[in-house]
């Protein structure tokens, strides 16, 4: 059964979702238990793959419906004719992010989303969201990726609009699906152009015969624009604050995970699809592409953090920080792309480009954890005070010790303060980017300081101050599931922060190697 793990990871949440109309009758406790079990099994399956894939560098293929699923192609032909799932270190890394985020988020949502008739729909959509993100991580087929992109964006839009009684929630959902549909249309155009030239949809096969023609560049433009739009990078970031603010807290966290997966996919398309093919040297100008990514990253960092400073709405503030943090990853990986295919035989890449990429990719993981934690705590704050406005919150620290502590951990991590995980990845980015261009590193540090200032504002205004029980709308203590979700995330942040070497050597470094094929 072990060689069927790739397909099980995607189909288990699908089956659970399809059976929801049946299991939904069994009462909500059983239903939640079933879903938590499935998410735990998913995480278990993912970590079962770590020794083989990440540590030994194996690549696992799974060809749907073939007589020998572990082969990439059938005997006698050089191209795959069926859909292939591919698990290498990079997709495993993406899958682990999705697994951890979905588990903790669902644990959190068991206590915060009201148990009523519509909760059954909520959990169905949540499972499908998970399946979509897992599929996006593992598929090696462009059209299959499109299908899973649609699954994740449609379920995301419906979940953003979950609280239809709120005035603007449906409009936020509408915005999200509008942007997603435009992005998927662009993506499909890019896929069509690739297909027109190579007659295949398989990423690895297309890369092996890539001719770097003019049409390839057009296809790359379409695909990368689509992914950047979906990940919420700067020119198309306007939907992010509205959507993240109106969604339930757990769904904001899931949207963030979806953005991270999209970003990972964008990097995979840059390197594994349009990267220099094995047949010839790269003719696409990677330095220009890298600089475009860097400029997008710097703009995202700067605009995100400046807009965040003036917000009074806690969720919009965090959403703008999400844009700003995306900038760090784009900066790190952009530096990597810029020095990726330089004429010096990869010396510059080995010197600092790879470290920048490790920093950027590591930051994706760290960001997924602490941003998730911050969104979840903002959910607790919103629940307590019945508003998202910072002016209406004061003195929460007197009641909710756990929330205060985990918020503090998350805020320090996002600002890059030493014992937490944000520091490790930011340090990698600073060091390597400084070798590439000192100005960029200084901008990145400056943005980090502004982030700290902004989160101190939130901390002082909502957790400090006199105890005001009259402002509290809902005083019920947090349920066990909610607490478990928060504690797991906080523990992960601290552990990653204390032992970054293990994570970097075990997961991140193999992921970067799998992406760039440069050891």
């Amino acid at each position: 059964m072990t060689n069927h793990i790739p397909v099980l990871i995607i189909t288990l949440p699908l089956i659970a979702a399809f059976l929801q109309p049946v299991t939904g009758f069994a009462g909500f406790k059983l239903r939640n238990l079933v879903i938590i079990t499935i998410l735990l099994v998913l995480n278990g399956l993912l970590f079962m793959l770590v020794p083989d894939v990440a540590l030994q560098g194996k690549t696992i293929y799974y060809t749907m419906g073939a007589s020998d699923p572990s082969q990439f192609t059938q005997p006698g032909i050089s191209f795959p004719v069926r859909i292939v799932l591919k698990i290498d270190s990079f997709s495993l890394f993406t899958g682990i992010i999705v697994g951890v985020v979905t588990l903790t988020t669902f644990l959190f949502s068991t206590g915060t989303v009201k148990e009523d008739k519509r909760k059954s729909y909520f959990s169905t959509l949540f499972l499908l969201f998970t399946a979509g993100l897992m599929g996006m991580s593992f598929t090696n087929d462009l059209f299959n990726f499109f299908v899973f992109l649609e699954i994740s964006s449609i379920s995301g839009a419906a979940l953003v609009a979950y609280r239809t009684y709120r005035k603007h929630a449906p409009y936020a959902g509408y915005k999200y699906i509008l942007i997603s549909t435009i992005a998927t249309t662009f993506f499909l155009f890019g896929v069509g152009i690739c297909y027109a030239q190579y007659g295949s949809f398989n990423i690895q096969y297309i890369n092996s015969v890539l001719a770097h023609s003019y049409l390839d560049k057009v296809a790359m433009l379409f695909i990368i624009v689509a992914m950047a739009m979906k990940a919420g990078s700067v020119p198309m970031h306007m939907w992010v604050p509205d959507t993240y603010a109106e969604a339930p807290a757990s769904i904001s966290a899931m949207l963030k995970a979806s953005g991270m997966v999209t970003l990972c996919a964008m990097f995979r398309f840059t390197f594994s699809l349009f990267g220099p093919s094995s047949s010839g040297a790269g003719k696409i100008n990677y330095e220009t592409l890298g600089w475009i990514v860097i400029v997008l990253g710097v703009l995202s960092m700067f605009i995100g953090v400046t807009m965040a400073l003036i917000q009074h709405d806690v969720r919009r503030l965090m959403a703008f920080h999400a844009v700003s943090q995306t900038g760090y990853m784009l900066l790190g990986v952009g530096v990597g792309i810029a020095v990726f295919a330089k004429g010096d035989g990869g010396a510059a890449f080995k010197a600092f480009g790879k470290m920048a990429m490790v920093g950027g990719i590591f930051h994706i993981m760290n960001n997924a954890f602490y941003k998730n934690l911050l969104f979840l705590t903002s959910g607790v704050m919103e629940r307590r005070f019945g508003t998202r406005n910072l002016n209406g919150m004061i003195g929460l620290g007197h009641r909710d010790t756990l929330t205060t502590v985990v918020f503090m951990i998350g805020a320090l991590a996002i600002a890059g303060i030493p014992p937490f995980n944000g520091f490790d990845s930011k340090l990698l980015i600073y060091e390597s980017v400084y070798k590439f261009s000192p100005v960029l590193a200084i901008i990145a540090m400056f943005v980090s300081v502004m982030t700290l200032a902004s989160f101190m504002k939130v901390f002082y205004s909502s957790f400090m101050g006199p105890r005001r029980d009259d402002l509290i709308v809902e005083g019920a203590p947090l349920t066990k599931g909610t607490k478990a979700g928060l504690i797991i995330l906080a523990a992960l942040i601290i552990l990653t922060g204390l032992f970054p070497g293990i994570i970097v050597d075990g997961i991140i470094e193999p992921a970067v190697t799998a992406l760039t094929q440069i050891r």
């Binding site: 419906g65 032909i77 795959p80 859909i83 059209f143 239809t164 007659g199």
Partner: protein, 281 residues
């Protein structure tokens, strides 16, 4: 902001228009243009094949036992996409139920329809009602034909299910509003779930070899496993392996899913308090 996006749009348009001239044009065939040239009689012939589509055209018929190559691509070679697509429809039906049950409340669920003396709905003229009653069986039969003959003639699960759902649309627009929404919804929802479950269970049934493996095809004489001759032939209904099963499952799922969407939307239209601002057309 608008100007910037428009500018970006024009840049992309420029790229596209310049790209058109360089695209593979439908005049010059990529790969082997003749389907049977130098085709050996083995089940899988891999000689002289240069693209994926060539492979489908030359081997699809023998490997999957289906005369319609599009169906064999949809349900066999790229069956996982189809599973995802069915999941998208299920997902949208779930979302729409979730969103619309906040508009449709209590009494709307069992609202009875005004009928005239013969039991036809009073909303439209008699011509529309009787026309609906006459058309409905034909549409349903055509849809069912498309689903069942998906591996022989144009058609398949999606098309058949969608055609059958136009029958529901006809019922909706001729004001045959469903009497008891709760029961109808549960029925449709059950069958939708059933279709999807059949699909995924069929996929897992081939798991001894791989997910969605066509384990029934070409088992001579047994259930759905008839071997069909190479080339033009009238086709046999009991060929195709798991394709007819998957096609039927998807057909049921699409029919029920789209029906739920239509029924819920029409009930939300007639729900109390929603007439304000609406226009008759």
């Amino acid at each position: 902001m608008k100007l910037v996006s428009l500018l970006a749009m024009f840049i992309i348009a420029g790229f596209m228009f310049t790209g058109i001239g360089k695209l593979h044009l439908p005049g010059d065939p990529a790969g082997n243009s003749n389907v049977f040239s130098q085709r050996s009689s083995e089940k899988t012939d891999t000689a002289n094949i240069s693209t994926m589509d060539d492979y489908y055209l030359r081997n699809g018929q023998m490997e999957t036992g289906s005369n319609n190559i599009v169906t064999s691509v949809v349900f066999d070679y790229r069956g996982f996409d189809t599973l995802g697509e069915a999941a998208v429809l299920f997902l949208v039906v779930t979302s729409i139920s979730m969103l619309l049950f906040s508009i449709i409340k209590g009494k709307d669920l069992e609202e009875t329809v005004l009928t005239d003396s013969d039991g036809f709905p009073a909303g439209m003229t008699r011509i529309v009602s009787i026309g609906t009653v006459l058309m409905l069986p034909i549409i349903m039969a055509f849809g069912a034909y498309l689903v069942i003959h998906g591996h022989l003639s144009p058609g398949g699960g999606f098309q058949g299910g969608a055609v059958m759902a136009t029958g529901t649309a006809l019922l909706v627009i001729s004001s045959f509003v469903v009497r008891n929404l709760q029961k109808t919804y549960k029925l449709f929802s059950f069958f939708e779930s059933l279709g999807l479950t059949v699909f995924i269970v069929t996929g897992f049934a081939g798991m001894g070899i791989s997910f969605l493996h066509n384990f029934l095809a070409n088992n001579d004489g047994s259930f759905l496993g008839k071997v069909i001759p190479l080339g033009t032939n009238p086709g046999f209904l009991n060929s195709g392996g798991i394709l007819p099963i998957l096609s039927t499952a998807v057909g049921i799922e699409v029919f029920c899913g789209i029906s739920i969407i239509l029924v819920l939307l029409s009930r939300a239209l007639n729900a109390r308090g929603s007439q304000k601002g609406g226009h008759k057309c």
